[in-house]
Amino acid sequence: MMPTLSEIKKSFLVSLWFMFLTFPIMVIRVNTTENLVLWRWENMIYIGIGSFLLSFVWRYMLWRKEIGKKDGETGSEDAPSFFQRLLSDRRYAIPAFVAGIGFVVIFPFVMDTYQTNIMITALMYIVLGLGLNIVVGLAGLLDLGYVAFYAVGAYTYGLLNHHFGLGFWIVLPMGAVMGAFFGILLGFPVLRLRGDYLAIVTLGFGEIIRLILENWNEFSFGPSGIAQISRPSLFGIQLSLSSSIIYLYFVMIGMVLFTIFVVNRLQNSRIGRAWIALREDEVACQAMGIDKTRTKLTAFALGATWAGMVGVIFAAKTTFINPASFTFLESAMILAIVVLGGMGSIVGVAIAALVLILLPEYLRAFSDFRMLIFGAIMVIMMVFRPQGIVANVRRSYKFQPDKHP
């Protein structure tokens, strides 16, 4: 692609527009103590040149994307991504796998408590992402109130621990059951809804749960929340703070592996195919003999199960919960993980969870620009790779061409 005159003109207009937009914040500085206005014209020049060049890069990338689309008849969206090619090659996959395990095992012993804590959070979001992936990615039911099940799990542990002193390992399966129960509870009224309507109702559901927790003081202790929830114990032994964080880290690793195992098996099963069919075409799905009601409810229940369990772990990790941890922003974050990772793709969701949770933490060095960079990355991802980091590839089967049984 040669930079033709019209291209240059386009970029010039873009840079003009950016200079205009950023004028108030980048050029004018008002010093209120001395009543001075500082005009920083040099900033405007930087912005102009920067956006001029970046607009070229931007259009070049878009152009490459278009070319890629024309190249394959199937379209670039189906082409295997870099990660998939990397993982399918044994020469790279096995060393990468070993290095990955090594990294995972020594991580909490090498890094400090702060780093381990961040990693635990990221792992929790992997499981949350994979759980929501069942509902949104596989079954195609847009759920904006997913955090409600997370809250249900957390409060299950918080309340049972507070009132009855029940331990982490007893409540963990109870959290799963409570999550599933509330998943079905939400599932019933929304059976007939889809798309935008479903999203709004689930959004409402999430808010209802949060508002109940906030206002029903006798039950949930309101906004002040529940404190001094016990950390998980190892065979009845109470651990010190730092070792219990390491312990929780490995609990979370186990949880992630368990989730990946189950979700992977589910999505290539009869029930998983039914979910995908439901996502693809609800009417055809029913006409092919799939019970819509049951399929939707299992999707909601199984999706919520993971949120319930992670909720229990969350309560055990922070030892304090209150409704402020379960706002809509959390749901949006988990949804972003699913969409950014690639709907229905396990590896993609895991990578996206790590990126979306760790990135803002490590970007703290850039303090003010942290969220700006974060937002820009999201926008760029969605423009250039709308199918997510790792697009879901359907399983292929091998047959002898002349097999006549």
């Binding site: 029930i271 006409a287 092919m288 003999g289 799939i290 359907r394 047959f399």
Partner: protein, 273 residues
């Protein structure tokens, strides 16, 4: 062309079927019957209510009035008459009536094989627990689903596309995949909604052959809605003609061709247009 011997055994009986949408009567006391091993065509001008009729008998709509009675050969041996009004679409399919759609409704982002495997859903049982633990029964069932689905695709002539995404198939192949998917549900009656729409003459010819073959080899009865008169006349054992929600004629292709009422209602319009 070999024709399967016709029996007089009725497998689908529709009595006085009426469907109102508010003040609009889309179907008006319709009586239709289909016998075992028959290919029956349902024709009529646009808006006559043919697709509404399909939607009623497959459970997508719940009819206002009338009876839909099937004599299902499932479970094998036990011939029993059964009223299927008010059943859900998936229950109707389970009883053994599968359909295709006028505007193709495949699962575009699933492979061709998976599309057919969905058709096996209602004939298999494994659930969440089986999926997670992969016990022997589940593994065997899963393998059977794959094998059965592949066999259906071979029969339909789509075997070389097994792992392609359904959305990447050529148009004619997509229509055939819909038939394959319906066939995978082990129906005794297949309802085809304009299977030849958008096909070129060559593809239509192949479709003609395919439908006859399905009837003969799979012992399935076929009810089709179609506008391609050549196809209808060559395929059908009997034809029902609808106009404004009413049945205006029925009979063999020969009788229909010469029926003045039909010519007036249907063919007359075609000439005008």
């Amino acid at each position: 062309m070999m024709r399967a011997p016709l029996t007089m055994e009725t497998i689908l009986e529709v009595n006085n079927l009426t469907m109102d949408f508010g003040g609009l009567r889309a179907l008006d006391h319709l009586n239709i019957d289909i016998r075992k091993g028959e290919i029956v065509a349902l024709i009529g001008p646009n808006g006559a209510g043919k697709t509404t009729f399909f939607n009623c008998i497959t459970g997508i709509y719940s009819p206002t009035e009338g009876d839909i009675v099937i004599s299902s050969p499932k479970p094998a041996g036990a011939q029993k008459r059964e009223r299927i009004n008010g059943l859900k679409p998936n229950q109707v399919t389970e009883k053994g009536m599968a359909r295709t759609f006028q505007n193709i409704r495949l699962f575009p982002n699933m492979t061709v094989l998976e599309n057919v495997m969905i058709g096996r859903h209602c004939r298999t049982r494994s659930g969440v627990v089986g999926a997670i633990f992969r016990n022997r029964a589940m593994v065997r069932e899963e393998q059977a689903v794959v094998d059965d689905s592949y066999r259906v695709l071979e029969k339909i002539g789509l075997a070389r596309h097994v792992n392609d995404l359904a959305k990447n198939l050529p148009y004619g192949a997509q229509r055939r995949l819909e038939i394959a998917r319906a066939l995978a549900t082990e129906p005794f009656l297949i309802l085809l909604d304009e299977p030849a729409a958008g096909m070129n003459p060559q593809e239509t010819l192949e479709l003609d052959d395919l439908i006859t073959r399905i009837r003969d080899e799979e012992r399935v009865s076929i009810l089709l809605i179609e506008h391609d008169m050549k196809l209808v006349m060559s395929l059908s054992d009997r034809i029902f003609v609808m106009d404004y929600g009413k049945k205006i004629a029925q009979g063999t292709p020969e009788e229909i061709r010469n029926n003045p009422v039909v010519i007036k209602a249907y063919l007359g319009e075609e000439i005008d247009a």
